[in-house]
Symmetry: C2
Subunit: 651 residues, 2 copies
Amino acid sequence: MGNTYTVRFLPHNRKIEVEEGQTLIRAAMEAGVHVNASCGGEGVCGKCRVIIEEGQVAEGLSERLSKEDVEKGYRLACRAKVTGDVVVRVPVESEVDASVLNALATPRRTARIHEMDLEELKEQGLFLPPIEKKYLELPEPNAQDHLPDVTRLVSFLKLTHDEHRLEVEFPVIRKMPDILREQDFKITATLARPVHKGGKTRIINVQAGDTTGQNYAIAVDIGTTTVYGQLIDLISGEVLAQFGDFNGQISYGEDVITRIMAAEKPGGLEKLQAVVIKTINSIIRKLIKRSKVDMDEISTLTMAGNTTMTQLMLKVNPRYIRRSPYVPAASLYPPIKAVELGIELGDHVPALVYPSVSSYVGGDIVAGVMGSGMYRSEELTLFMDIGTNAEIVIGNKDWLACAACSAGPAFEGGGIQFGMRAAKGAIEDFSIDPATLEPMLMTIGNVRPKGICGSGLIIMVATLFETGVINNLGKYDRDLDTPRIRQTDGIWEYVLAWKDETQIDRDIVLTEIDIENLIRAKGAIYSGCMTLLEEVGLSIGDIERINLAGGFGSYVDLEKAMVIGLLPEIDADKVSFIGNGSLMGAKMSSLTNRIRKDVVEVMKKMTNFELSETASYMDHYVAALFLPHTDINLFPKLKKRLEARRKAQKG
Amino acid sequence: MGNTYTVRFLPHNRKIEVEEGQTLIRAAMEAGVHVNASCGGEGVCGKCRVIIEEGQVAEGLSERLSKEDVEKGYRLACRAKVTGDVVVRVPVESEVDASVLNALATPRRTARIHEMDLEELKEQGLFLPPIEKKYLELPEPNAQDHLPDVTRLVSFLKLTHDEHRLEVEFPVIRKMPDILREQDFKITATLARPVHKGGKTRIINVQAGDTTGQNYAIAVDIGTTTVYGQLIDLISGEVLAQFGDFNGQISYGEDVITRIMAAEKPGGLEKLQAVVIKTINSIIRKLIKRSKVDMDEISTLTMAGNTTMTQLMLKVNPRYIRRSPYVPAASLYPPIKAVELGIELGDHVPALVYPSVSSYVGGDIVAGVMGSGMYRSEELTLFMDIGTNAEIVIGNKDWLACAACSAGPAFEGGGIQFGMRAAKGAIEDFSIDPATLEPMLMTIGNVRPKGICGSGLIIMVATLFETGVINNLGKYDRDLDTPRIRQTDGIWEYVLAWKDETQIDRDIVLTEIDIENLIRAKGAIYSGCMTLLEEVGLSIGDIERINLAGGFGSYVDLEKAMVIGLLPEIDADKVSFIGNGSLMGAKMSSLTNRIRKDVVEVMKKMTNFELSETASYMDHYVAALFLPHTDINLFPKLKKRLEARRKAQKG
C-alpha cells in the first residue's frame, strides 16, 4: 500500500482520500463528482479538463491541451495522477449538469403522440390489471379450525373470491403469522396476475387492514446517458411524479461500448451494476418524496433499457454484445425481486424488464414500439430512436422489421470540438445574417455559450447549407469575406462566439471536421432506413407515419433535420414525437398486463436485420454523405427552395 | 456501555470478551462452548453447573446447588453474571458431546426397516428423476444466426431433445455467456423436473463441457436436538457420506417451546435461524469432505424437520405454534434457493422442505411416513416417533390419522435427576440381583457413569417393576433391606452408583419422582395411541405393524417398553425400527419426484387430531399412569409372567 492523499474538488468542495498514483477521474468518481469523459478515460477526447489550483499532480498532459492551458494549470483528469494533497477545480465545461433534465421541455413545433390513459385502455379492451389488491376478512382460527395461516388465506380466496391457481411467495409466508393477527385476520392481499392464460396468480404481499385504496407502480427508463423514473397511481392511472438524472455509469464511458469495456475489467460488472442501481434508487427516493406515497404501497417496478444497459443492470456479462456475431445473453428475462437487484423497494416488489430483440435493438425500443401503439396500428410506421446508436423499426400491426446503426456520438456532442449535451450554456438555436454572416445564437438557460448541443448542431449545419455558407459536401465557401470563417492549424472553421463572449475563455467554433462528423452520423441513419426499407421491399414513399423517440427526437427541428437529410422529407403532420418511448412503454406495462402479453407476441413478430451484413448498406451510406443526399430528388421541397435561392442570388 | 471482561472456558481453553453483567451461559454460547441447559436458561433444571476456577461471578446460586457445591465453586451458568475476568470449567456432566452421534449404532434385537434403493424404486414404478443433467453440443452463433444465448439453449432443447415448457432461472442467465464459450458451446444443462404434470421444467444450472457423470443431492433431517445429513449419488442412488451433529440451537433451550420463546425475543428468530444454518453448513462441509465430491455438482437439497424447526430454519415466526389454537404458518412451502437461506451450496441449488400437517405433526413425521412406505402399505400401521413430543400416525394406503402428544423430556433425560442424553457415560443397560438388590450397570463407551439415558431409564424401571422392587405405582418397596434404597430429603431413591464410582463425584440415584415422570411420559404416549385409535373406530388389536422412528426408537428395548406400558403388547416381529425416518424421507425425495408428488396427496389424506380437545384423552391418560396400565389384561404376556413370579415367591 502506498501513501494516501487528499483530493479536494471545487466548486463542490468534496474531499476524498485516495492512494498515490490514482487518477483524478477515478478520485472524482469516488467523491461523487461528475467530470465529462466522452472517450471513457483514454485521454483521447480531451473533455475532462480540470484545473489544478493547489498542489501538484503527475502526468495529465495531452496534445488536447495547449501550452497556455498547461501554464494555467489545466490537466486531463483521466491522465493526471495523484502524488500529494491537491485541490482541483472542475471548470463549467467539464461538468455534468443534471438540472436541465428536469426542466420543463420547451415544446417544439410538432405534436407529441397522445398517451393513452387507464380509461382509454379500458375502453379499447386493452386493460388487464397486472396487480390487484383484495381486502379480506378471514375467519379466525379456533379449536375446531386450526388451518395453517397460508392455507387459510388460499382456501378463503378460493371459496369466496373464486380465485384458483394461486401461488404464495416466500416473503408472504414470512409475513403471514404477524400480519394476520395485527387486525383480527382482516388483511389486504396483493395479487400479481399471470401474463399468460393458465399461468398462476402469485400472492406477492399481505398487509394488515384495508389498503386497497393505495396501489402504485414505478416505471424506469435506463438510458446510457440518463435514467428517468415515474411513479404511477395504479387506481387512477395518473403519473404522480417524474424524475430524471444522469446514469452514474457516465464516468465509466459515454457509450455502450466503453461501458462494456469497463465491465470487462476485474470487478467491473459488479461496479457498473452497483452504480446504475444507485442512480435508480436515488430516483425512486425522489419520486416517493415528491408524490408523498408510502413506499410499502408500491407494488411493482417495470424497467426498460437498451440491451447493454439491461444486462449491466441485471449483472449479466455484456462482453459478447460488442463482439461479432453480437449475441446478447437473453431476450426475455424472468421476473426477479427488486430487492435482489439491490433496489430499495418492499421485498415483495417484482422487477420486470423489457426484453431485447438483439444486441443493438433493446428493451428501450421494444418499450417504445409498445408504448407508442405502433404495434397495433394499421399505418406503415417508421419508428426511430436517435442517439449514439440509432434504432429503426418499420412496420405495423402485421409485421415489424428492425435494425440498429451506429451514428457515432455527434448528436450527443461527441466528436464535435465544442460539442456538449443539451445542458445550460449549450447553443440550441442559430441563425445567420446572409449579408454580414454574423450569427445569432440562443443557448439553453440564456447564458453565455459553453458549447453546441446536438439539436443546435443540426440547425447550424442546415442553416449554413441553405444560406450557401457551406456546400453540399459540408465545406465552407472559401471566398466569403468574414473574419468568422478562418483556418486554424489547416482546418477551416466558423467562429460562433469569440473567446470573451463565452463561459470557457476560448473561441467556440464549428469546424469542417465537426460538419463531416455530423454528415457521417446522419448518413448512417438515413442509409439505415433506406436499407431496411429495401430489405422489406418498400421505399420512402410508402411510409405513412414517422415516430421519433428519445430525448434528441423531442428537441430536433424537423424541417432542419430534413434539410441535412437526417430524416426523409415527409409532411410535418405525419411526424409524431413520442418523447421517452422507453419510459412510456414501461409505464404502459405497469398499467395493464395486456401490454406484457402483447410484448411476447411482438417479440415473435419482429425481424432483426444486421445492416453491417447487408451488402447494399454501404452503397446507401456513401450516397448519403452529402447535404442532403447525392440524389437531391429525394428531397423535392428542399430542391425547390434551393433553386429559388439560387435564382434570387443571380437575379 | 459497561466494562468488558475476559471469560476463559476450560477444558476447551476458549476465551471470549463479554460485557459486565452478561450471564456465563450466554458467554459460553458466544464462545462456541456448549453447556447443557435443559430448562432453556431459567435456572430450573440445574443442568448447567460450572466451576469457577479463577476470579469471581455474581449470583449463580440456586437450590439446585448444595452448600458443599457452592463452596467447591459450582455455579449455575444460566444465573451467574460476569463481574470481572474469570476462568470457568465446564464439568463433564454439563457438556454436550457430539461424538456419540456418529458412532456406529449397536443394533438392537429387532429388525430395521428395509430402505429402498434406486433399482427398487425403478422396478416398482416409483422412479421419476427430480434432477437430470443433459450434455448438449449447441451450434455456435455466426453472422446468420445470432440468437441470444438463452434462446439458443431453449430452442436446441426443444428441437433436439423434445423438451418443452422450459423455464430458465436467473442465475443461469448470468452464467450463460461465459459458460457457453468456455468449451465451444458444449455444455451440460441441469434440469429440475416439475412435481406436477403440466408444470414447467426449470433449467437451474449450466456447466461447461460434459458433467453428466456427476450429480449429487443432500438430504438433511433437522431435529430439535440433532441434525443429520446425507450426501447421495443421484446416478447410483448410493449414500456416499452421512454425518450428524447437535443442533446449535440447543443452547437456546432443549425443546421446541423454549426455542419458540427464544425466537420471540428481539432478534431471536434471526439468531436461531443463523445458528441452525451454521449447523447445517458445517454438516454439509463434512459430507463434501468425506465423499470427496465437487460441491458444484450438488444439484439439490431436501430438508425435513418438525414444524418449529422448519419455521425457524426458514425464518418464519413460530410464535403461534405454541399458542392456542396452535396454528402453523404454512403447510407446503414453495421451493427456495439454498443460498437464500444462507446455506453454502451452489447458487442454483433449490432447497426443498417437507410440509407440515399441523403445529405438532411436522415435516419430519411426514417424511417418515413417506420414507417408510407406510402410505403405500396395505397393513394397518402404527407409526410412532418418540421424543419430547411423541407423534403418532395410524393408517395405511387408504387413510391416515395423526396426533401429537407432549411426553415431556423424560425420554431424553429431562425431568430425571441424573437424566442425560445417550452420550458417553450414560447408563444404557441395567439389571439387578434379586437377592442382594445390587445393580449391574452398562454405560455407553464403557466408562464410569455420568447419568441415565432414556433407553436405560426404561430398562431400569421395567426391571425394578418385574423384580418387585417397585410396585405398579412406581413406588419402592419400603421393606427391602438394602442401603441402596433410601430416603433423601423425604424422597425415596435407589442408588445406582456410589459417588466414588462415578465421573461426577455424586451418588447417581433413581428417585420416585424420576419414575413418576417416566410413567407420565409413557402414559401420555400410550393414551395418545388409544385415543387416536378410538377416534378412528379401532382398537389396539387391529394394529398389524408398529413402525418406530427416531433416535430413541432405535435404541429402545422393545420388551421392556411393553413392560412399562409405553408400547402396546405386540409380537416383536411386527415391530420395525425405521431409524431416522425424517432423513430417510428426505433422501427418498432426493431420489425420485414420485415421493414429492405423493406427499401432496398424503397431505390431503392425513387427518390431524388435537388430543387436548378430545374428551376421552384424559381418561385414557389417567388409566395409563400405572405400570403397565390400570387394566393389566391389555398386557396378557406380562400378566402371565407377573403371576408366575408371584407364585414362585410364594412357593
